[in-house]
Symmetry: C2
Subunit: 433 residues, 2 copies
């Protein structure tokens, strides 16, 4: 169905029920497909990934036509940044296809058995990596997520139900057609990846309320979407909330490294979750570091907001930082700066105000580095490296479905492994207790 | 406080608020203690475990006196099985102490870094095993859980808030005093393990609603408790629901092994979650297996409930099995029996009616074994071994906090590793992107 049910005023509860029934049907099909996918051969999964890539390139024109329709529909409703993210072109379609081929090239994560050891009883116990089952992904604007998420779910032997934003509905359906084509070409179940057609919000609620058909939900998008999903989902959620990342420049920091890392962590990209939002500097090196660093940041167009000591050092032209600044994920050319007495105070600040995403220390002192790494309770903790490295590709995961700020299951960048689980396998020869 | 606030009629909302405030206070203390515990040396944690063991033995008399009080209070309210689980004696206290010493002897799970590899960018990326933070444990009747759970949380560098059942309140407090003593003796924070004193149910609700202070909840007890916790907890839950375990006897089974495994899986203990509840037998071997097996089970006092074909084979004295039987966790000397056409039908039955806990195949055929292991989506899948082996000690985990039927994070028997998470650690030398 392609009609937007939210437009059918006056019969809302009826249409809501219809949508629930549709989503339930997708769920049942996904559950069935998941069992076939769990047993699929690595070669068949890779063949499907290559076939989808081929279909994307072959159907470039129809994808671009669908995308043009979304862009036209969004022209008056969406801001420039959103339109930019929505837009596809030859290069972006080629990138999507290349992404699929790269996922095909990754090692197959499924079915491997590790730690298969004999126990005193005589049984042999190991753990086998297996798919989670059905993954629900709820995302916004970027149509390339449709292809990326499908690729990761497929490679990891899961079935997927994808629900993109209404603003990209036509683009997503055009990409979905290529995915179905690729799955069918490789003799894998077409229902292994289903893209929800209706753009009604009731579809999201329906997905969140069927734990019998969806094993885990991955929301990708703005904070509002993620909080909504986390609050209402009846199944586990792999989610990414704030990225309030810190760089702490220690007494024993190398000045050149410190400045290079701080500039890179703040300015390489402003809108990413692993961008530094607060800089902490040990007071013993504050003058030496902050004088040149503030000039570099100023030149890059970054606004500084400082604690009292920072303002005393750099002058009253620096805006004062309030508690709200310590908690803020700016996602913009703004940096909060605080001078601390020592590492303990820096760690205290990070644990109090941070979001447990990514935090770094710059130091030449190995004892400090060891202590910082132990004490900071974040998904990624770094020594002498830019926070911008916290990323699935940089970590060697090959691809990522997101970055998790949860502690259980997947933590930090989530690649194929995060879409799998380990079950115990036991081999005996008639063994009993 | 030791007064039972639920008895103070007429001021319920006020007392509820008081309890919430008390539990919040425990939460704040636990969060603080968790940071110290995360950095605690293995030697100090082990010293605390030994000191707690010593305190339990040294204070045996006061523990037994407290337990006698619980037994007296419960005499008219609790059934015999519950009273039996509640009762402590010299031997059980010695077992608790021995359990603590065994946990001390396990390898320390915290701080180890694995997979520390160089990336093309020049950074080195690895994963460090770290505690989860604060573990909340809500349990019923058995006072030994107080010591067992405390030991596992302590060894894994977490802080714990333990909430035992009201029927064991005095026993739990006596054990708690020993835990506090042991922690203090080893110079670890006494708040690392806190036992909730109030027996009011409002304390449970208060725990479930403070995700800022409790990182994960582990409910241990009856299904009602676990479902209540899973529904209301605002933090992740490591939970164990049903154990509807199957043994499938394949066409290619060795008859002697099949009978030995089936008898053991059903009769070694009736009340455990890894006990077989349904037996599936391939029709080609049904007569050969079921005739002698039914006699063995009959002698052991097990009631059989069979499908039509089973009743045709064994006679109408066998009760008919309904759909409700396939879904039932009897926890009793009752076994449902079904004759299936082939392995595919057995797997279909397990996936339809099972609880994804533990399922076994008995076969000499390696292709069947491989296919069964891949297709059955359970926490433990076994070949030629009794389902009764699904247990943390048998698997070599050293100890277990429970058996998880969830797919995310911990699956199957949960030992120390289930109470930890992995964070990424990155080492550079001034590296930027």
């Amino acid at each position: 169905m392609s009609a937007n049910l939210s437009d059918q005023a006056g019969s809302e509860s009826r249409s809501t029920r219809q949508i629930q029934a549709q989503i339930q049907t997708l769920g049942k099909r996904a559950r069935k497909a998941a069992r076939l996918m769990a047993a699929a051969e690595p070669g068949d999964k890779n063949a499907a990934l290559f076939a989808i890539a081929e279909a994307l390139v072959a159907n470039k024109d129809s994808i671009l036509a669908a995308n043009a329709r979304d862009l036209r529909d969004g022209r008056d409703k969406l801001d420039r940044a959103l339109l930019e993210r929505l837009e596809l072109n030859d290069q972006r379609i080629e990138q999507m296809a290349e992404g699929l081929r790269q996922v095909a090239a990754l090692a197959d994560p499924i079915g491997g058995i590790t730690d298969l050891n004999f126990r005193p009883s005589g049984i042999q116990v190991g753990r086998m990596r297996v798919p989670l089952g059905v993954i629900g992904i709820i995302y916004e604007s970027r149509p390339n997520v449709t292809a990326d998420a499908a690729a990761l779910c497929l490679k990891s032997g899961n079935a997927a139900i994808l629900r993109g934003g209404s603003e990209a509905a036509h683009s997503n359906q055009a990409i979905a057609a290529c995915i179905t084509r690729g799955l069918t070409d490789a003799d894998l179940p077409a229902d292994a990846v289903q893209v929800v057609e209706t753009t009604d919000r009731a579809a999201v609620a329906a997905m969140l309320h069927m734990p019998e058909y969806i094993d885990v939900i991955v929301p990708r998008g703005g904070k509002g979407l993620i909080e909504f999903v986390a609050e209402h989902a009846q199944m586990p959620v792999i989610k990414h909330l704030d990225g309030v990342c810190h760089v702490y420049i220690d007494d024993h920091a190398d000045v050149d490294k410190a400045i290079a890392i701080a500039v890179n962590a703040k300015t390489q990209r402003y809108g990413t979750c692993n961008t530094m939002e607060t800089l902490l500097v040990a007071k013993s090196v504050a003058e030496k570091i902050l004088q040149p660093l503030s000039q570099d940041l100023h030149q890059a167009g970054v606004e500084l907001r400082g604690c009292e000591r920072t303002r005393k050092l750099l002058g009253p032209s620096i805006k004062p930082a309030s508690d709200a600044d310590w908690a803020e994920e700016y996602l913009a050319p703004i940096l909060a700066v605080k001078i601390v007495d020592n590492m303990a105070q820096a760690i205290e600040h990070i644990e109090t105000w941070g979001s447990h995403h990514t935090d770094a220390i710059v130091t030449e002192n190995v004892t400090r580095a060891r202590a910082f790494i132990r004490a900071v309770d974040s998904a990624s903790v770094m020594v002498n490296a830019s926070t911008r490295f916290a990323d699935g590709f940089e970590y060697g995961l090959g691809a990522e479905i997101g970055i998790s700020t949860d502690k259980l299951h997947a933590r930090g960048p989530v690649g194929l492994e995060g879409l799998t689980s380990l079950k115990y396998v036991v081999f005996g020869d008639g063994h009993v207790r």
